[in-house]
């Protein structure tokens, strides 16, 4: 056709120029030769980072699925890889114990809970000790660290990550902020869902198997005394005695929360004494299936089922 592409040479030239520009931008911000690396100390932070940056960055999260990220000890090579990351996302609240004994670059480190550092909770009932007479007794355990179980706090952490990404990769800022909006909406929905689910529990205390639900309990105004039980441990008479003491301190509890699926016999034992077991996974590590959102939705659903 005679007039098929009247300006085609010019168009072609413009196309070529703009491709060149994109390539340059991609190269200058690592798209060409270096893909940015974002290291995270916990799965929730890794999930947030993936939601915000997976199209241009690689999220480095190497905690084995069978280990608790809070107590995982990385090897020298893993630390070396983390040191080289463009951003290192820390939870704060003394979450990853290894952080205090390892060397990380300050300039690329982001403490995602810094916006609510004044609202962090100390763990209670921990064994304190002194080294010599006159010294103040102290505990090694420090602060409650599962901050993301309060979804408002999780939103603050996600926002902190987005801010850091925007500062570090300004050309990606608008994309990151758009994705943040979507993530915040999801977290807000989780918050609403959890509020609804927990409101159905009434004012009765809830006994938790592990001291990891402090922020969740505070967020949804639940009294949640804690034991130190693992889901796969056989409950001994001593354990049951400890449970009895807890129930005396917090009478009226009918719900027992586990981090993960407990042994059937444990469910049975608790059921016999009037406690219904429910799994609320803190999702500190990457789940075998699904993701953070699906795990939290499952938590909400589990509670919802009880209310119903």
């Amino acid at each position: 056709m005679k007039h098929a592409l009247p300006g085609s040479p010019l168009t072609l030239a413009l196309l070529l120029i703009s491709c060149g520009e994109e390539e340059k931008q991609a190269e200058s911000h690592g798209g060409g030769s270096h893909r940015p690396v974002i290291a995270a100390v916990s799965y929730p932070l890794a999930y947030f980072a993936e939601r915000l940056s997976s199209d241009f960055a690689t999220v480095l999260y190497e905690v084995p699925t069978d280990q608790d990220p809070a107590f995982w000890e990385p090897g020298d090579e893993q630390i070396a890889a983390i040191q080289k990351a463009d951003l290192i996302l820390l939870n704060g609240a003394t979450y990853a114990k290894w952080v205090s004994t390892r060397t990380l670059p300050g300039e690329t480190t982001v403490v995602t809970s810094s916006s609510f550092r004044d609202r962090l909770m100390e763990t209670e009932g921990t064994l304190k000790h002194t080294h010599k007479e006159g010294e103040e007794a102290h505990s090694h355990d420090g602060l409650a660290f599962t901050t993301w179980l309060d979804f408002k706090q999780a939103s603050a952490q996600a926002s902190e990550i987005a801010l850091a990404l925007g500062e570090r990769f300004p050309e990606r800022k608008s994309t990151v902020m758009t994705r943040l909006d979507a993530l915040l909406e999801d977290l807000n929905n989780l918050d609403t869902g959890m509020a609804t689910a927990t409101s159905g529990l009434g004012n009765a205390p809830v006994i938790v198997s592990h001291p990891v639900y402090q922020y969740w309990a505070r967020a949804y105004s639940i009294v949640a005394p804690s034991l130190l039980w693992e889901p796969d441990m056989e409950l001994t008479p001593g354990d049951m005695a400890a449970l009895a003491r807890i129930r005396e301190e917090a009478p009226g509890a009918t719900l027992f929360i586990w981090e993960d699926d407990p042994l059937p016999q444990n469910i049975e034992k608790l059921k016999r004494i009037g406690l219904t077991s429910v799994v609320i996974s803190p999702c500190g590590n990457r789940p075998e299936s699904g993701d953070f959102l699906s795990v939290m939705r499952a938590n909400i659903a589990a509670l919802q089922a009880l209310s119903n």
Partner: protein, 394 residues
């Protein structure tokens, strides 16, 4: 006249009395060497000091002598300065003027300074790991190239911090540190230093430690007070003086980290505006910390050195005149003693000019030898100036 013969006769006489000739040559050489060496040393030192200072934009430290602070932070010279608190450092970081780098330089491993800092220090100084790898945890260290060569240390070896006072058993105690790497040389004080994570220096300081698990009934000396969630340990609980994979999780810090001490902090402002803001922030007379421009402090020091140099040069010149006068006297006396020899030459057939030339050549040989010796010594001084400066500062 036979020039070769004259030179031969002169050389023969000088070599006939080697000690006397060497003494003369050395005396004249020293007269020429000292003033020049001083100038070279000060000039090279000035260059070295200024280059180091130029690469350190700003320093924050406790109030006091800015020169002491600069020398301690840049050259790790031992100084009796009060500490800067970690809270002050965090405050500086939060102000986001630029990159902040903590510095802790109180401790030594024998004669090598132990510098507690962050990874940003290595970027600032363009220090690369030549062998091994960078530090990754508490108790790790990387060492300078010169220290490695001097003490024959390499990655995989250990180095122990020195106690400050053998009687201070409850305070600073020796920590055996794992050498993970050796840095490439950069011809500065860094080549002789041991670099650790800042937190490691706090362990040396006794603000943090690792010990046996006190809740473990097997831990000796750790009685449990029943009914009370407190365990009181006594001195028989073993504290670890080396950080290993097996005990690293036991290491913990005591007290308020805000009170932990630093020697200083380096600030690399993002831009000129941030630099100006940072300087303004520390101009308050009531501030507990000071901000120093290292280049200014070093320039002040150089001015002092320059003034001292002028005095020293004047003294050297006087001494030089005296030494040359003495050397002239030695020559005169020598020629007086050799009058008979000169008379023999005259009788055999040497004119007055030839005899004068003979004497002049002898003096010239001595002077030229002295000049060559002095030149070599000055060149040596120039090449050793940096090392000499490091030893002088330490």
């Amino acid at each position: 006249m036979n020039p070769g013969g004259i030179a031969f006769l002169s050389w023969k006489h000088l070599s006939h009395r080697p000690m006397r000739s060497l003494t003369l040559v050395t005396a004249i050489a020293l007269t020429l060497f000292f003033p020049r060496a001083l100038q070279v040393f000060i000039s090279e030192s000035e260059d070295v000091l200024q280059e180091r200072a130029r690469s350190t934009p700003l320093l924050v430290g406790p109030k006091g002598s800015s020169i002491d602070l600069t020398l301690n932070s840049l050259y790790f010279t031992p100084q009796q300065l009060p500490p800067l608190t970690y809270a002050a450092y965090e405050k500086l970081s939060r102000q986001r003027f630029g990159t902040t780098i903590p510095m802790h330089s109180r401790f030594r491993a024998e004669d090598a300074p132990v510098i507690g800092t962050s990874l940003a220090y290595f970027e600032l100084r363009e220090l690369m790991v030549d062998s091994g790898r960078m530090i990754t945890r508490l108790g790790d260290c990387v060492i300078g190239a010169q220290l490695s060569a001097r003490k024959n240390l390499k990655a995989g070896d250990t180095i122990t911090s020195s106690p400050e006072n053998v009687f201070d058993l409850a305070g600073v105690y020796p920590l055996r540190m794992r050498i993970t790497g050796v840095l490439a040389p950069n011809h500065t004080a860094d080549d002789d230093a041991v670099f650790v994570d800042l937190k490691t220096t706090w362990i040396i300081e006794g603000l943090a430690h690792g010990h046996q698990d006190l809740t473990d009934p097997g831990t000796s000396g750790a009685p449990r007070e029943s009914g009370e969630k407190v365990v009181r340990a006594n001195a028989s609980v073993i504290e670890f003086n080396e950080i290993t994979d097996g005990n690293i999780t036991s290491f913990h810090f005591h007290g308020d980290p805000g009170t932990y001490p630093l020697s200083s902090a380096i600030l690399v402002p993002r831009d000129q505006k941030q630099r100006a803001l940072a300087l303004a922030a520390y101009q308050d007379k009531d501030a507990t910390a000071q901000m120093v421009i290292p280049l200014s402090a070093v320039t002040d020091l150089a001015d002092t050195l320059f003034a001292t140099q002028r005095l020293a040069l004047a003294a050297f010149r006087l001494l030089g005149v005296a030494a040359l006068g003495l050397a002239s006297l030695v020559f005169l006396l020598s020629f007086r003693l050799r009058e008979r020899e000169m008379l023999t030459y005259a009788k055999i057939g040497a004119g007055r000019i030839l005899i004068g030339t003979l004497k002049a050549v002898e003096v010239t040989i001595v002077v030229i030898s002295a000049m060559i010796l002095a030149r070599v010594a000055v060149s040596l001084t120039r090449s050793l100036a940096t090392d000499l400066l490091s030893r002088f500062l330490n």
